[in-house]
Subunit: 431 residues, 2 copies
Amino acid sequence: MVPHLITALTGPINELEQRMLESLPAIERWFRLEWMEHTPPFYTSVDLRNAGYKLAPVDTNLYPGGFNNLTPEMLPLAVQAAMAAIEKICPEAKNLLLIPEQHNRNTFYLMNVQRLMQVFHQAGLNVRLGSLDDSIKEPTTLALPDGGELTLEPLVRRRGRLGLKGFDPCTILLNSDLSAGVPPVLAGLHEQYLLPPLHAGWSVRRKTNHFHAYEEVAKKFAKLLGMDPWLINPMFARCGEVNFGDGSGTDCLMANAETLLGKIRRKYKEYGINEKPFVIVKADAGTYGMGIMTVRDPKELANLNRSTRDRMGVAKDGQEVSEVMLQEGVPTYERINDAVAEPVVYMIDRYVVGGFYRVHAERGADENLNAPGSSFVPLAFAESNQLPRPGVKPGASAPNRFYMYGVIARLAMVAASYELEATDPNAEVYE
Amino acid sequence: MVPHLITALTGPINELEQRMLESLPAIERWFRLEWMEHTPPFYTSVDLRNAGYKLAPVDTNLYPGGFNNLTPEMLPLAVQAAMAAIEKICPEAKNLLLIPEQHNRNTFYLMNVQRLMQVFHQAGLNVRLGSLDDSIKEPTTLALPDGGELTLEPLVRRRGRLGLKGFDPCTILLNSDLSAGVPPVLAGLHEQYLLPPLHAGWSVRRKTNHFHAYEEVAKKFAKLLGMDPWLINPMFARCGEVNFGDGSGTDCLMANAETLLGKIRRKYKEYGINEKPFVIVKADAGTYGMGIMTVRDPKELANLNRSTRDRMGVAKDGQEVSEVMLQEGVPTYERINDAVAEPVVYMIDRYVVGGFYRVHAERGADENLNAPGSSFVPLAFAESNQLPRPGVKPGASAPNRFYMYGVIARLAMVAASYELEATDPNAEVYE
């Protein structure tokens, strides 16, 4: 299934696509050199927006769900990438402890957990599930829609090690973004590999740190390709002390929105883009498409109604929002059956292993699609990501387009690596 | 396309399949530990024979052709494996010099070369072709059946480095098995990675060294699984000084054939196998299915006719055969459309990347299929090798069967690694 790209045949994105294909060996070498210096996150998913004049990551998830949305054809790539990751981290490992989200019993999410277990089993590990939920006192079976089942087991903590009854893992893989903070049971695990590290959780992580790192990566990459980094980089600003309840911090939001809209307007003028700029306002910490609004005029921020203020003030797991990110709005001009779509790319270790389109029939091109009512159309990244075809007219080849998506997603992954290094509380400082 | 396995539902191979699936994490960990101590060959293909009562590798190729016979669905796996290989060997590399067979202008072979170039280009290298043919004095274009073309360029040797005009590679990848000996232009390249190493060529390599190493690997692996190594190991013997022209060495061949047939007979009796044992006699050095005969009675070796003697006495590139291997004959009981078929598994670095069935309608189950008239049926290893399904009836699931094939092929790859270490002329000896 190939999406209908209404921007496919004209505009800067096609020039970018062509330049990327021509520079493929240089790009891949650039990534190899980055991974000599930096460690990729264990797994990553990246939401992209393709505006035709611009292609940018808008969210980088370090605890990706949705692996069940990848097609079965993509699984061998995921297994191979998982094998490569295990070989590096813990080749002698027998056991992997997977810790899913604490309260999520959504069957789609459980199928994601099942898929992850499958991938790591086939990569050669005994995989079992440990629960952060204190009410799980003994092995608890959850039914899956496909007739299968998952067994959640209570965690057993013994001094420096975490495991299950009769199960001592070398590596603990978190699939919970820790929005509610770091549970004590996960603290101080110095004898085992805990991946991703605790500071990748939303209790520590900030989107603005990520996009600050991404800006640096985008500049380096743009220099390699001789292009304007804006074509792949969404501009942003931050307000540190916002209270949507009592309205404090609104001045900061309005001033930053004004400045950001002005910057976007100048870029649109430079490129002759006939669009109305907009800004996305969202919690600096947090995920799940919660607390997100689209702003075209800073005045909108002065007169938020009660329901918007309530919605914006609380992120996942009831965490109060006070730090806010303002991000350049990048419309997505891809459509699948007339519904607005945005590509999501999945990576394990340094490898692109698949992806899908997030599709929402009731949302606009300038809105967040990660909301109830969205659906997923898997894309044959497995057949296409690594198999671009040089010489095909830009914009006309899905494999070429997907190669470009894989490159931008990997740039966001490099940025996540920079970000985690910069925010590592245990980093050794060489002076 | 799933082959019709006439042996599918009964016999020791199904028990083996079931045991392998149950032991998947232990098997994968065993491979991980092997690769901590040993270096996998850069790329490998392995011919397997499935007799229902036995599954064994019969030939391990360290300069595999036939990559064009893999389906396009398998390519992303090959690209990802190639990326992993490059990252380890030469991450800073920009250029790869590929050296194909010297005289092979067969279009199937050229398509294999094209496919390899594609894989390594997409893995992120500039790939060009250097020719060992002295008559290539300037870039020479060869047409391909798909309308594409290949350009062979003359090699340029400068002291310790080999390249092309304006092209200095970090790695030189040989796709020529050097049956005719090591060309001087390849000797003494100490500044670059020459892969596979020169002693992997047939001027040095001996099949009996390989199967000696394989026997060791099969024993270790059989111990892990608690099974008889004979189920996966073809027995063999060797005669070092045979002259098919004047008949000298016939005594050695007959005596070894007698002994080997006796050993097979005892194993058949042990397992209640109602088959007539046979032995394959072939050159200890060499490939391409040349110089191979099937022997059921040692007396056949005493009365070889002129044409058989001529055929057996000369291997590829006109090399005279004097060292001979006798190998336990393993019939292949797989059929595709009634034609005899044997699986061939392809690996890059330590990863299975695909495979196909070699099919020959005019050959018997006890004959060599690598002969004119054979065809290739690609198998969806990409969908299947790493995705076995536990719980499916043994022999009834192609993915499970292919997982087992991938395991046995990787055992042969481990053996090739041992073999290359044991025969390395530059090995450091620690005493």
